[in-house]
C-alpha cells in the first residue's frame, strides 16, 4: 500500500518537474520564469521529503526546512527587484 502511494508520488513529481521546466523554457516574460522557479523549488522540497522517507533518514528534513526559508527569501528579492526596489 505504501509502495503504491510512493510510486504515485514519484510519477506526479516527474510530471511536475517536466511541466515546470517547460514553463521555464517557453516563458515569454521574466515573471513567468519567477513563478516557474518558485514551483520547482516547492517540488524540490517535496522530493527531499520523499527521499527522507525512502532512505529512512530524517536529517534530510532539515535540508528541506532551510530550503523553504531561503527560497522564500530568494523569490521575495527577485520580486522586489522587478518592482525597482532592492
Amino acid at each position: 500500500m505504501v509502495d503504491i502511494a510512493l510510486n504515485i508520488a514519484f510519477v506526479l513529481i516527474f510530471f511536475s518537474i517536466i511541466f515546470g521546466i517547460i514553463r521555464l523554457v517557453i516563458g515569454p516574460d521574466t515573471v513567468d520564469r519567477v513563478v516557474a522557479i518558485d514551483l520547482l523549488t516547492i517540488i524540490a522540497i517535496a522530493v527531499i521529503g520523499l527521499l527522507a522517507h525512502v532512505a529512512n533518514r530524517f536529517i534530510y528534513l532539515d535540508v528541506a526546512l532551510v530550503y523553504g526559508l531561503l527560497s522564500f527569501l530568494g523569490v521575495l528579492a527577485v520580486a522586489r527587484f522587478l518592482e525597482k526596489g532592492i
Partner: protein, 80 residues
C-alpha cells in the same frame, strides 16, 4: 529504479537551465535560470546522501548568489 529516473531528470534539468542561462537575452531571467541549476544540484546532493553539502549549496548557490547578482545588475544598469 524510481530514484535513478529522478536523478536523470534532475541532471537533465541542470543541463537545460545551464543552456538557458547562456542563451537568454534578459539578464534577470538568466540569473533565475542559473539559480535553478544550483537548486537541482542540491537535490542531487541529497540523493547522493550528503545533506550538509546540500544545505550549503541551497543557502549559498540558490539564495546568496542570486541576490548578489541582482544587486550587481541594479548597481551597473544605472550607469548605462
Amino acid at each position: 529504479m524510481m530514484i535513478t529516473l529522478l536523478t536523470l531528470l534532475l541532471c537533465g534539468g541542470i543541463l537545460i537551465s545551464g543552456v538557458l542561462a547562456v542563451q537568454l537575452d534578459s539578464l534577470v531571467s538568466a540569473v533565475i535560470s542559473a539559480g535553478l541549476a544550483s537548486l537541482f544540484a542540491a537535490v542531487v546532493y541529497v540523493i547522493l546522501a550528503a545533506p550538509d553539502v546540500a544545505m550549503t549549496e541551497a543557502s549559498i548557490g540558490s539564495g546568496l548568489s542570486t541576490m548578489i547578482f541582482l544587486y550587481a545588475i541594479r548597481k551597473t544598469r544605472d550607469e548605462d
